[in-house]
């Protein structure tokens, strides 16, 4: 673990609920569980990502009181072996039924014994941790480093239908700056403080990506990681915010144009601009260090890749799409028959773009072939093996901004619930301007395609995809 890098822990909503149910069985006594975690060992942050919850059975505990829980170490031996094989780490979690929001003397004693022994078992510098859950579900924790020190976990978050974040220490934002006074008033200083601490990735910086970036920066999000390998062209000027004719003339990178615009806004948002495709190890690693990701892409394989990344690293994923459907041929050629758009919210461990029926794995393969071997792709279309896909669809800024706005409002509602129904009722928000109607659908069941990859964190190659291997020079 590099020194000075913040360490955080992420669970999904299902894991958090399972943990809470086990840790608070209703008898008022402490209980314990372990989280097997994947790791994103990043340059900005290290993220421990829960893969699985392993409760320590109540019957296995030799002591359970309202102040102490003790269990024989052999209970966790099988877990140590699993963690070792999978390259994972372990986080012990126990409850404070009385609601004490700090580690107790008993906890200190127990962690001083357990955490260094975990570190010694694995004999490497992967970080292990210890966390406490309070009766209202809040959590705090600490890790053990190579030097035996136990610094606090900087952040613990739950990526579920609601997005919960708990930070170590007091508010990091200080006073609310003038630019944010009115939205801090609407959503509360707590939410503004949270936005300030967030790291959000936006993948795709064109029609829907640029208005998402604009909104996030003006809301005061602390860090934006923006990813796009494309340059501004004249045909983009109809829809990329802050892009000018001079940018098109110079062929400036979209990410450079948008990073410059955010800097000039002066809202204090730090932008990490990656002028590369998501199909690169650097982009995957940078996005995987974020808390939340917006997918504003126009390719099926890119969206599948981002869905995979969001699963490996448990990132809440907002997928944006717009569609203007005109009759392609015949007497009514050119007539617009539909103007619509969607925001799909995908909580890790839940449904996916595939299980929601947006595209199939065959579509993903075909799109991958089009990207990596355009000639073979063209041959397969000609031979009728796969269907051709329109590459450039019509796009209009007025629709893009509506969908981008709905997506950012969906994020706000998940950080600071304000809707009449619980957030699980808004897994898919869809607008038809042809019908002038807005629809919302509740979350469907979990996706079997991604199940095995949940919370795996860093692997070699990244995401288990040979294409993301680092090239050896």
């Amino acid at each position: 673990m590099p020194g000075g890098v913040m360490v955080g822990l992420t669970l999904n909503g299902t894991q958090h609920a399972a943990l809470k149910a086990h840790l608070f069985p209703g008898d008022g006594l402490e209980a314990a569980a372990f989280l097997l975690c994947g790791v994103r060992a990043g340059d900005r942050r290290t993220r421990l990502i829960a893969r699985e919850v392993f409760p320590v059975p109540y019957s296995a505990c030799s002591i359970r009181t309202d102040r102490r829980v003790t269990w024989p170490t052999d209970t966790i031996l099988p877990l140590l072996e699993i963690a070792e094989r999978s390259g994972g780490t372990l986080v012990k979690v126990h409850s404070h039924p009385g609601g004490d929001p700090a580690f107790s003397g008993v906890d200190d004693e127990s962690d001083r014994l357990l955490l260094p022994s975990l570190r010694d078992w694995f004999d490497d510098d992967r970080p292990h941790g210890s966390a406490v859950m309070l009766p209202d579900g809040r959590m705090f924790g600490r890790t053990v480093g190579a030097d035996g020190a136990m610094p606090p976990l900087t952040q613990i978050n739950v990526a579920g239908d609601d997005l919960l974040f708990w930070h170590d220490g007091a508010s990091g934002a200080g006073a609310v700056p003038g630019f944010a006074a009115s939205h801090a008033q609407a959503f509360g200083e707590g939410t503004f403080d949270l936005l300030r601490r967030l790291s959000v990735a936006v993948v795709g910086c064109s029609g829907t990506g640029s208005p998402v970036i604009e909104q996030l920066a003006r809301l005061g999000v602390g860090e934006l990681v923006i990813v796009d390998d494309d340059t501004v062209e004249e045909r983009n000027l109809n829809r990329i915010l802050n892009a000018t004719a001079a940018d098109a003339e110079k062929g400036r990178a979209k990410v450079a144009v948008l990073a410059g615009a955010v800097e000039r806004m002066g809202t204090g948002t730090r932008v990490i601009a990656l002028e590369r495709s998501l199909w690169s190890p650097e982009a995957i690693e940078a996005v995987a260090q974020c808390d939340i990701v917006f997918g504003c892409m126009d390719t099926i394989d890119g969206r599948f890749l981002l869905n995979t990344l969001a699963t490996f690293y448990q990132l809440p994923y907002f997928d944006l799409g717009v569609r203007i459907h005109a009759v392609p041929e015949g007497l009514r050629r050119g007539e617009i028959v539909e103007v619509c758009g969607s925001v799909h919210y995908l909580a890790p461990g839940g449904s996916s773009l595939v299980s929601r029926g947006l595209f199939s794995l065959d579509d993903v393969r075909a799109a991958g072939l089009a990207r990596t071997d355009p000639e073979a792709h063209a041959r397969q279309i000609a031979d009728g093996y796969i269907s051709g896909v329109t590459v450039r669809r019509p796009a209009v800024i007025s629709l893009n901004m509506l969908i981008a706005s709905l997506a950012v409002n969906d994020l706000l509602a998940r950080l600071h619930p304000f809707r009449d129904d619980p957030n699980e009722a808004f897994a898919h928000i869809e607008v038809s301007l042809s019908e002038m109607a807005m629809f919302r659908d509740p979350k469907p069941g979990a996706c079997p395609v991604f199940r095995g990859d949940l919370g795996r964190g860093d692997t070699r190659p990244l995401l288990g995809m040979p294409e993301l291997s680092r090239r050896v020079v």
Partner: protein, 119 residues
């Protein structure tokens, strides 16, 4: 009319007449009935809008797939289909689900492509 309701002394021809009486119209336009707040009678066909255009089916409880096919929207898996009720409510129709077109208030259908993409 079902078998139980058939009076014992009714001949086959009389029964056919009775059924014909019940079919008031050849084709029922669902939007018109929804505006009147009435349930459409049993008809030979039912006309309804899917998005802008009108289409017909010849059964009173078609599946989601039959409705999409009638509107030329195939494969059905690429579309979401919602039923619009008079008064403004929408109901999502699941794959394989049958829709009772004679249910009062059924006004039209809204179909949208599942995948919407633009970068």
């Amino acid at each position: 009319m079902n078998e139980q309701a058939r009076p014992p002394d009714m001949s086959g021809e009389e029964l056919a007449d009775a059924i014909r009486e019940e079919i008031l119209e050849e084709i029922a336009d669902l939007e018109e009935y929804a505006k009147l707040g009435k349930a459409p009678p049993r008809c030979r066909g039912y006309r309804f809008r899917v998005n802008r255009d009108r289409h017909e089916v010849h059964e009173d409880k078609p599946t989601r797939e039959t409705i999409l096919e009638a509107a030329g929207l195939t494969p059905a898996g690429d579309w979401t289909l919602r039923l619009k009720l008079s008064g403004g409510g929408y109901e999502l129709i699941k794959p394989g689900e049958r829709v009772d077109l004679r249910r009062p208030g059924v006004e039209k259908f809204k179909a949208l492509p599942r995948d919407q993409t633009e970068g």
